[in-house]
Amino acid sequence: MRYVKLFKEKFPEFFEALKKWGEVHAPVKHGKFYSFKRVSSPGEVVLDYNRTMIPPKKFFIKPLEAIMKVKVGRGYEPIAEEPKRLVLLGLHACDINGLRILDTVFMDEPKDPYYATRRENAIIVGVSCKPDDHCFCKSMGADYAWVGFDLFLHDIEHSYIIRVGSLKGEEIVEGLGNLMVEPSQEDFIKFRDFELNRSRMFKRALELSHLPEIADALYNSDLWTKFADKCVGCTSCNLVCPTCRCYDVAENVDLSLKEGVRTRRWDSCFIRSHALVAGGLNFRPTRLDRFKHRYNCKSSMEPRTGLCFCVGCGRCSVFCPAGIDHVEVLNTLWGLT
């Protein structure tokens, strides 16, 4: 790994370099919450934030998008958008790991061409963060990004130590010339202290070593009902999850009845029709079935990354209107609370 150092007062120049590479999107404050928005000046960027409501998956799989033109009686034509270069600035380690999980699905053969084009035209600039009361990424092994980014900014008081994670990141660093300096031994000590301190700050923890078993072996536990009864099936946990990726496909014809579009949109396993097949058979007919399904899905391991399908960002707990806490559910099942 190559390390460089950037003084914080030089951040605007760094920002300009990113802007030259592509459209910059970064966390921006909206009322109480944060969201990734297009930014044009460094002043709009909030790097010291807890979490955005919608994770960065929105840049690669759109909430709703037309994927194909339908010419009635004549066939389908993919809607291939012009590749747009995107810079995602200020991603936390959990979100970077969330994207790695999405990559294992959408970049797996056969590649999803829509996702792949966008992914290959984006650069990811991570930023170090401090956990709040809902973060449990440390217990999920997703609190540090080893790979999956182009540049990663570690805050060490007056400057950033930047880890360079790819060739694209290398090019940006090279382009900045003398703006980037070699970090000193002292800087690395600050870097270590920050990470050690951060690691000690986590208050929430999930028992990762047995996670798949907690969800699987205790599948018939009555304790699920306690939480599933509270669940209102609003699908919010799916929408805010950085690794939830289910989508639905629909086809619509315009009034001419000659042309139309095939669209896809985010779907949720909490919607009754999620496992419904033609003829009316539903493989997950009750909310309890669907509730357990989500926990099973999130608790499973992705073998290639060694990561769990939950990265511990805490969004599902923070944005659950019924106050259901992901960690509490699984720890209760395992008898830890």
């Binding site: 989508y247 496909v249 014809v253 419904l276 033609a278 003829g279």
Partner: protein, 294 residues
């Protein structure tokens, strides 16, 4: 960019045959010769069929790759898209994506007897394996076919089934048939061949077929409505047929067909499978290890 499995290829309906009041057999040919050339499949694989402006639906191919001629699909009119398909006529064009899924391991089954257990629409995917086995007759041992239907009127490929009951030596297999509803045709057949035709659900046929089922040399191929599997698997377990030699083809909501959209995910956290990509054919061993598979 690879659009191969993403954009439906065009196929023309060349023939439509009514099988039952709610099921039709559609014969399709690719519009482009290029597409036809590259399309190869295994028995048990499925395709996604698109009706322009209506949508897409997963349908298993009910013909063996050993037979030339158009692709054959037995489609039940049951949802929005299949209703639209049923309105199509020869000459009409549909979209096709595939082949998708793993298919039956016909090479692994070589040297074994093959026990088919089909219920209702489960006949459609099994027909492709049956044809394959018949076309490679020397590679396989005895063929035993148990077919459970509601009534004559609702039986798929009933002429073939009846012919198999009446002329086992011509087909080189042992056919057993069960029906649930009072039915003149099948009742007549039962009186003629009481040892091969019975009233009841498909599991009543095991008693008749037991004479021919040799657990150490047989592999089983099962297709039918989800409710059927549990009962059939129980019968097979009783007869000590090894779970790794029992193959089931399953149904789920397979929207994308390539393991991405998430609808067909099954299993507990320790073993997650996509029915569309890891299946639709699973072994009974899989079913024992993966929660919710059957």
């Amino acid at each position: 960019m690879v659009w191969d499995l993403c954009v439906p290829k065009l196929a023309k309906i060349v023939e439509v045959i009514e099988l039952t009041p709610i099921e039709k057999l559609f014969k399709l040919e690719f519009v482009s010769e290029e597409d036809a050339k590259v399309f190869t499949f295994k028995p048990g694989q499925f395709i996604e069929v698109s009706v322009f402006g209506v949508g897409e639906v997963p349908i298993s191919i009910c013909k063996s790759p050993t037979r030339s001629g158009p692709l054959e699909l037995a489609i039940r009119r049951v949802g929005r898209v299949t209703n639209a398909i049923h309105k199509l006529k020869p000459g009409d064009i549909v979209g096709i994506r595939g082949p998708l899924g793993n298919g039956f391991p016909v090479e692994k089954m070589r040297g074994f007897d093959v026990l088919f257990v089909a219920g209702g629409l489960g006949m459609a995917p099994l027909r492709s394996v049956l044809q394959y086995v018949i076309d490679n007759r020397r590679e396989y041992g005895d063929i035993i076919f148990l077919y459970g239907v509601r009534s004559y009127r609702e039986a798929l490929f009933r002429d073939m089934a009846i012919d198999m009951v009446e002329h086992p030596e011509k087909w080189g297999l042992k056919m057993f048939l069960s029906y649930e509803r009072e039915d003149e045709v099948f009742e007549g057949l039962r009186q003629k061949y009481p040892e091969r035709v019975r009233k009841g659900v498909v599991t009543v046929l095991f008693e008749c077929a037991d004479l021919y089922i040799k657990p150490d040399k047989v592999c089983a191929v099962i297709g039918g409505p989800p409710i059927m599997y549990r009962f059939v698997l129980k019968e097979l377990a009783k007869r000590k047929i090894p779970p790794e030699r029992i193959y089931l083809t399953l149904e789920r909501r397979m929207k994308c067909g390539v393991g991405k959209c998430g609808h067909c995910i099954v299993g507990g956290a320790t073993a997650i499978k996509y029915v569309c990509k890891d299946g639709p054919v699973f072994t009974y061993s899989d079913a024992l290890a993966v929660r919710g598979l059957v």
